[in-house]
């Protein structure tokens, strides 16, 4: 957030003191929503990736295009995305 915007709301209104999706409040820093998105994506990604790896030699027969192993690559995408969000937006971020 731009420092010049810190205490003055554009267009009037009471001053604000946080950067929207996070930041400093009297109760302490609020974690950004992106961190929560990252956590759930990371958990789901790991679960789905492991499921996909376990069924790699016998994909579900009732599912179309199972030979493409969507469970594996979708799990990998979710894991990577979730991991990035957790690392980038986590409480360890300064």
């Amino acid at each position: 957030m731009d420092s010049e915007q810190q205490n003055q709301r554009e267009g009037g209104g009471p001053p604000y003191h946080v950067a929207a999706d996070v930041e400093d409040r009297p109760e302490g820093k609020m974690l950004p929503v992106w961190f929560f998105v990252g956590i759930i994506f990371l958990i789901y990604g790991v679960i789905i990736l492991i499921t996909g790896l376990l069924e790699i030699h016998h994909p579900p027969a009732t599912v179309m295009a199972a030979e493409l192993h969507p469970t594996i690559w979708w799990g990998a995408i979710l894991t990577a995305l979730g991991g990035f969000y957790v690392l980038y937006f986590g409480p360890w971020r300064n």
Binding site: E10, G11, G13, E27, F36, I40, F41, P60
Partner: protein, 575 residues
Amino acid sequence: MTFQLLVAPALWLLSGSAPTTLSPHLVDFAVIVIYFVMVLAIGFYLKRYTKSGQDFFLAGREMTAWVAGLSFMSANLGSLELMGWAGSAYEYGILAAHWYWIGAIPAMLFLGVVMMPFYYICKTHSVPGYLELRFDHATSGLSGICFAIMTILMSGVNMFAMAVVMKVLLGWNIHFSIWVSSIVVGVYVAAGGLFSAIFNEVVQFFLIWFGALLIPIIGLIESHGWHGMVARIHANFPGQDFTHLWRGLGHFNTNPMGIHWTGIVFGLGMVTSMGYWTTDFLVVQRVMSAKDLRAAKMAPVIASFFKMAVPFIVILPGLLALAVLPFHLVPQSVAKAGEYTYNAVLPLMLGRYCGPGLLGLGITALIAGFMAGMAGNVSAFATVWTYDLYRPFMRKNASDSHYVAMGRWSSIIGILISIGAAYVAMHFASIMDYVQALFSFFIAPLFGTVILGMLWKRITSKGAFWGLLAGTIASITMFLLMRFDPRTVAVIALSPHAKVMAQNVYQALWACVVCVLVTLIVSSLTRPRPDQELVGLVYGCTEIPSEGHYPLLKRPIFWAGVSFAIFLLLQWIFW
């Protein structure tokens, strides 16, 4: 729009004729349980940050454009809408995409560029709150009462439909689903207010996308791309046009919806859509939570890009189902036991392409949609009840903490009434019609009232009140006429071929016209408020404050132009 598709899927669910669709594994249930734990954890985490009325009802007015925009989008993406529109795409083809493009994009951009400055700078908490500032208690009270009833019934219907979806898809007990889902939503909204609702809506937004995105991707691979899909549809349904947006709209009987282009452009694009996106407080509340004027203007513009993309996960699965399913789906009215109806498209496609794990993610996307819709209704209800009904009419000068407590209690009470509405819906299918009717009765005339009041200082309080009332009564009358005397469809909807969806857009158009005419006539006969009382409320009396000195790439008007250009391009591509 949500309301027009609420009825069909719910009735399909009520019919009980659809076979159980999916066979989830243990890992799928684990994915669903983790979702419930996560939304509750977010609610409790945010509770300690929710101290004041501004925190509880407007999320502290601290949201960035992205968070407000995604939340705005998510509040609209209920699962009934996802499942209903996928079914409509199977029934009407790509015509259903009109409700995502011309039925949304111009209105969202209009909200961001033209209307948001007024909502934002007058510091109102709600749309009825704006009407109170602009007009008087009577107009505000009328819209507040209608909105409170409408949201609570909507929430109940959402809850009930979710429970029946879980029963039909997964075999879950219907009472268990109703109580678990409503308790979870009630707890996290009562704990963190709009903060919690918005945070969860952003999480739900991503879950909906990543849960549903695999269907069109794998479907297009199976169909060998768009052209392969179109060829298969032509082979499966010879002589029917499911893949052109405008080509068949020259006459009422040359398209599967029985609608003329005037209905799409004027009824849907200029009235229904404008009414929903600019005056339905359920969605507008999200944008009011923005941290500054630029963010408030930018949020709907950002959301418009995602809205344009939603047909990829909703309409395309319906078209793919026309191409790849080895059997034909049937209308709900003629479905026999063991047959699938149009509205089963999304679950069927989910089961077709998603194995263990991914299936859980897809089901979680549907649950997330339901909960986003429920939480949106409950948080909007709490705000309108507390600030637009309780404060002006029952207790005017209480402390801020008193109103926050009232907000928390009204969230819980709202949930309990919603549960009651859900059980009523369980026994009386006609309640769905009633809810749909409430929605369309109210939103179209409200748009006429708000837009006239915002753009023209000559509009008076009496004009607004009588115009709103006349528009609402006209809408109810047209609805009843078309319901009980089908011959009137040819007059109101301009064609005897008009189907329910076409009837709805013309009903909304005429209701808005009546509202505008009565407002203008009564206003011309009554005395307007002096200009100095309208500063910050009406165009022409208000100097719009600067958004700040930003480069072109950070200006809402620039991105609104980009969004509108993409919207036009899509019309041309799918013409």
